[in-house]
Symmetry: C2
Subunit: 325 residues, 2 copies
Amino acid sequence: MSPVTYADIEAASQRLAGVANRTPVITSRTVNELTKAQVFFKCENFQRTGSFKFRGAYNALAQLSDRQKQQGVLTYSSGNHAQAIALSGKLLGIATTIVMPQDAPAVKLAATRGYGAQVILYDRATTTREKLAQQLASDRQLTIIPPYDHPQIIAGQGTAAKELLEEVPQLDLLLVCCGGGGLLSGCAIATKSQPNQTNSPSHHPRVIGVEPEQADDAKRSFYTKKLQTIHNPDTIADGARTPSLGKYTFPLVLHYVDDMLTVSEAAILRTMFFLWERLKIVVEPTGALAASALLEGLITIPDTKIGIIISGGNVDLQQISQLLK
Amino acid sequence: MSPVTYADIEAASQRLAGVANRTPVITSRTVNELTKAQVFFKCENFQRTGSFKFRGAYNALAQLSDRQKQQGVLTYSSGNHAQAIALSGKLLGIATTIVMPQDAPAVKLAATRGYGAQVILYDRATTTREKLAQQLASDRQLTIIPPYDHPQIIAGQGTAAKELLEEVPQLDLLLVCCGGGGLLSGCAIATKSQPNQTNSPSHHPRVIGVEPEQADDAKRSFYTKKLQTIHNPDTIADGARTPSLGKYTFPLVLHYVDDMLTVSEAAILRTMFFLWERLKIVVEPTGALAASALLEGLITIPDTKIGIIISGGNVDLQQISQLLK
């Protein structure tokens, strides 16, 4: 029995209704002409806190027991999950503690604190964040909400694909970026289980995960069927710097995902700035991964309908503008 | 009798239906909290060719006689109007000739030619573009479609406000950027004439135009009631570098617009990058003018509904990223 079912994703949708944004699906004549396909971008950069992470975080926090809610939650993240937990806690009246590295960007620290979270800084050189988090959670009786390897997180992220499929029912292919695999596995479950299609799996859209070449652990795990790990991969796509898939996400990716692709750092940047200039949307590097596989020609399937999840749009403009060649 | 009526704007809407994008109206919790108002952004950066200019250009070209259509049209512009005319011509099967300066950005030349327009380059130092355009139009029997001072252009631009008011019927205030006044006067006519309100003008939303401080000719014209001119104003908002309002737009602005404001260059840039970072939309400097008046605190009217036209999103990322301090 799968730890995450379509019913879990439907229940997550109910919890998120009126709280999360039902993000827009946008199309581009330019992209359709370039790819000779019909392409639908599900824009999670317009989600609250600027990424899909809010879906999973809120879904998980909403299901805590009253006692857990009173005691509060803890997570470790320097990125989008931190802000998602902080805002979800604020909305649900749950105290949140976030363990972040001392050298996290000031703008992310400020955003996380702005939602009312207590931020605990640590020194990367001397401290392991998981260990510190465990210690703090145990001392303070906080519930740890990990960034991706958690059934309720996965179910929450799956609502992004569920919404896209409701809006565009006849997709042939869905492309999703992959870091720890929470978004990818959730979206794959939603896609392969959607009830408005026949029950034959061949009638469901194909689902392909996309990673940076420099952080191809999930692709190698997928092909070898053994969990592969990369520590501190050197990629601009910070959401894909996770060391490996998780104990929940790895089997789900193996079961529900059809293939994995990788794209180069240059391809990620070209795609990201293309989306800025031509679609007029601000997308972060990780958010451009799935689009990159299509726009860089790794996949060419004319006359089809292709869905792409744009996972987020949180960038430091000062920093990112350095990357314009 | 006004040279542009609400009926003209309605007719333009009919012509544009299914051709122009009905652009999204977006909201932001952050902006609402900052301004203590409900703010609605009409996003013409998502319009075809990346700006509102397509509305007016297509509306004008669609109304040419068969003979004029066969002979073709000409315009002079190095900016968004050029691309709008080029695409409109392509869609309607009308040959287009665009007079552009030799030193126009390569990306704009390429985009304009990409739509099939014939581009004629001139040397700014030795040639006046209006004179060259007149000569060419006369020699080749082309119809000149000016960038703003033309009733059909004005009516087309007014459809942007018409759509916004249909979506958000109870606006208290509409903010619109002002260059030559085509968008501002068209939107003001639409706002002050909308039939779903009472006939009393006091029940219509206020309309305020926003210009760069460095290019405040329209504000000075508005207050002095005499047409003021500024040649080559030094502003980053290239859509507002027009020397003055026109013979149609000046009286319309005087009649339909309630007030004019100006914003500094620094305010324009801060607002533009705020919209990129927080709303995740790419907006050009001119496109940030109207929002700037609100976000920089020139207007504070809590508990109201405020509409803002984001006029366009065409930027050269290389160039604009130099402006990040």
